[in-house]
């Protein structure tokens, strides 16, 4: 394979890597789970904090810690009750 072709291949691969590394537009906020019944089908039989952790992983690819998820759910419930 000629040198020029190698350079072309490297550029294409680099371009592909850059494209793959570009994150999709992310959700601005966490999914609001305040209206769900915990430990029921609608929360996949999880606590609300657990369900928020799962949806955040599915949507954003990141795991919240349990204390973080609990804080966020507490705020969502407080906002819903206002």
């Amino acid at each position: 394979m000629s040198g020029k072709l190698w350079i072309l291949v490297v550029f294409v691969l680099l371009g592909t890597l850059v494209a793959l590394a570009t994150p999709p537009a992310q959700a601005a906020d966490y999914t609001n789970v305040a209206g769900l019944q915990p430990f029921a089908a609608e929360s996949n039989y999880m606590s609300l904090a657990g369900y928020l952790r799962w949806t955040t992983f599915k949507e954003q690819g990141i795991w919240l810690s349990v204390p973080e998820a609990k804080r966020i759910v507490a705020e969502q419930i407080a906002s819903a009750e206002k």
């Binding site: 601005a28 609001n32 209206g35 769900l36 949507e59 690819g61 990141i62 804080r71 705020e75």
Partner: protein, 597 residues
């Protein structure tokens, strides 16, 4: 013959050139590299830099501040005639609450364990820089990735910082960054809250694709920012003189209208997209536009010096053209998301009053070089993502003055206007147009949305693809995403209720084994409808679900999704229909101040 001066609306709405800013962390560069970078940016016309005042580096131990690197960076920028915007945050390592068990690589995105620690840092920073820095941003794009906390926790930081900043430097301005990419619902919600008083500037971020930005940008400029504030009807908001560091008037804090700054572009955006975004920021009357420093080049910035924005046109689907007047006449800059050829308007083309006034014929105000225009303008032009600048010539006849509005952006897409349809649907059983105004196929690459299209009892349908195995979480696809056509329903401030009808097969496993709910975008964020169990049996059944306070603005590329997680079998859906229903009076009254779409 009439010239551009005769286009009174365009003249009235003409926006000054936004301050061109660069996002560059000067404090991390050595003096030689910093000087080189600033020389290059200065030559390209950059008059402001935005950089992080990293809490961990500024206060490595509680109460012990180290400003040297930041002092050097700020002073170097100012020596090049640039003003500096400092971004406060992210969280110092030592200020994170260990009880929150944040993973080590994410700790800096956390919330400080005590408001006092945050206030002390802000107070020290503003006291140190107040004579050199006028604008302060509170954390960088506080989305789920960058800010691992509740929305109220972010607002608490914003309010506390704003109080400190304004008490120490009443002239200072505070920037509240949005969390998404032109998340207009989030911005609108923020501006209607009491927290909005803590910010004098709204900061937005742009996704990689400029074509995606135009619609929310138009709604933000012409509807959200223009309602309830003194700037109503003036797309440019409070006056800006276009120079960094000048004494700008403070916006009226009680109103919603305030300057919009573009704070950044999503990582991975091409230099062409950055240039295009700058042109759009100009068209929408934004006060400043900060771009990645690598994307700024004198090659394109110099061509735009000394110009005044006049208007825009959309010469072909997906193509945009913006018009400027300058010392050598009228010029146009055109680009398109894909390579396309555009033809100049014929003499009887154009819109509204421009049609009868024939503005291109007058050269009394800004005499253009007619020889050049006649030679170049009438020919068809091949344009692409790279913005192309040329004498406006006959294209002026197509110009619409002022900032593009919602209807202009929708028209520019060249798609059918579906606003008169009674409903939009996806019906896979129909041989033609299985998707009319409601798309799912294009969204199957979204996380958890890879549903499978197949035949079931002689019908075409889509099936969720769920797994309950923990080790296969990434292959779990319990969601069917949907995007409602923007011409049918797009962000009306929650005035519309939608009724979604889902046609699905009954549960073969028996009662309470299969169900779903809908997660949809509302004025207060994504919200679930109550869970619905699907009756057992092999028949196809219809379920109607009402969504109140809908806010479909494609903020993550979709408007609602059907969620079957919680079922013990997969869900087969053959058709989904969305209809509009009028909103009851009380909810409408709450939005009395919002503009009509």
């Amino acid at each position: 013959m009439l010239g551009l001066a005769a286009l009174a609306p365009g003249r009235a709405l003409a926006a000054p050139r936004p301050v061109l800013g660069a996002n560059i962390d000067l404090s991390l560069l050595d003096p030689a590299a910093r000087s080189t970078a600033l020389d290059r940016l200065s030559a390209a016309g950059v008059s402001s830099v935005r950089m992080q005042l990293d809490w961990s580096r500024a206060e490595p131990r509680p109460g012990k501040f180290k400003w040297e690197a930041f002092d050097d960076a700020v002073d170097a920028a100012r020596a090049h005639g640039m003003d500096v915007v400092l971004v406060l945050g992210p969280c110092a390592e030592w200020a994170v609450n260990p009880a929150w068990q944040v993973p080590p690589d994410q700790r800096r995105n956390s919330v400080p364990k005590s408001p006092e620690l945050w206030r002390n840092y802000v107070k020290a920073a503003v006291s140190h820089f107040r004579n050199r820095v006028e604008c302060w941003q509170i954390r960088e794009q506080p989305n789920a990735r960058n800010f691992r906390g509740a929305r109220s926790e972010y607002l608490a930081l914003l309010i506390a910082a704003s109080r400190q900043i304004r008490s120490l430097d009443p002239k200072a301005r505070v920037i509240a960054p949005e969390a998404g990419y032109l998340d207009i619902a989030g911005i609108d919600h923020f501006l209607r809250s009491a927290s909005a008083r803590s910010a004098q500037i709204v900061g937005v971020y742009l996704a990689c694709d400029p074509a995606r930005a135009a619609l929310p940008w138009a709604v933000l400029t012409n509807e959200i920012m223009a309602s309830g504030g003194e700037a109503a009807g003036d797309a440019s908001g409070p006056a800006a003189d276009g120079r960094a560091g000048a004494a700008l008037p403070h916006p009226r804090e009680a109103g919603r209208a305030r300057p919009v700054w573009v704070l950044g572009i999503q990582e991975g955006a091409s230099p062409d997209a950055c240039e295009t975004d700058f042109l759009l920021a100009w068209a929408f009357g934004d006060e400043r536009c900060y771009l990645p420093s690598d994307s700024i080049s004198a090659e394109w910035t110099w061509a735009l010096l000394g110009l005044t924005y006049e208007g825009f046109a959309s010469p072909a689907p997906g193509a945009w053209m913006v018009f400027f007047s300058g010392p050598s006449g009228h010029i146009a800059v055109a680009w398109s998301s894909a390579e396309t050829t555009i033809c100049p308007p014929t003499k009887n083309q154009g819109t509204g009053e421009q049609e009868s006034e024939k503005p291109a014929a007058d050269t009394s105000v800004s005499p253009a070089p007619p020889a050049v225009e006649q030679e170049l303008a009438p020919a068809p032009l091949k344009i692409g993502p790279r913005p192309m600048l040329f004498p406006a010539g006959d294209w002026l006849a197509a110009m619409r003055p002022g900032a593009p509005k919602r209807a202009d952006v929708l028209a520019s897409r060249g798609c059918a206007d579906l606003s008169a349809l009674p409903m939009v649907y996806m019906d896979l059983s129909m041989p033609q147009h299985p998707e009319l105004g409601l798309s799912n196929r294009a969204l199957r690459a979204l996380g958890g949305g890879a549903c499978v299209e197949e035949q079931r009892q002689g019908r075409s349908c889509v099936r969720t693809s769920m797994t309950s195995r923990q080790e296969e979480l990434e292959q779990d696809n319990p969601w069917l995403y949907f995007d409602v056509d923007d011409s049918w329903l797009y962000y009306d401030g929650g005035k519309t209720r939608a009724v979604v009808t889902v046609e699905c097969e009954g549960s073969y496993m028996g009662p309470k084994k299969l169900g779903f709910n809908i997660l949809y975008d509302s004025t207060t964020g994504y919200r679930f409808t109550p869970w619905r169990w699907i009756e057992p049996g092999s028949q196809w059944r219809s379920y109607r679900v009402e969504l109140s306070d809908v806010n479909f603005s494609n903020r993550d590329g979709w408007d609602f999704r059907i969620n079957a997680k919680g079922s013990v079998q997969d869900l087969w859906v053959s058709a989904v229909t969305v209809e509009k229903a009028p909103t009851p009076e009380p909810a409408a009254a709450a939005w009395a101040g919002a503009p009509a779409p």
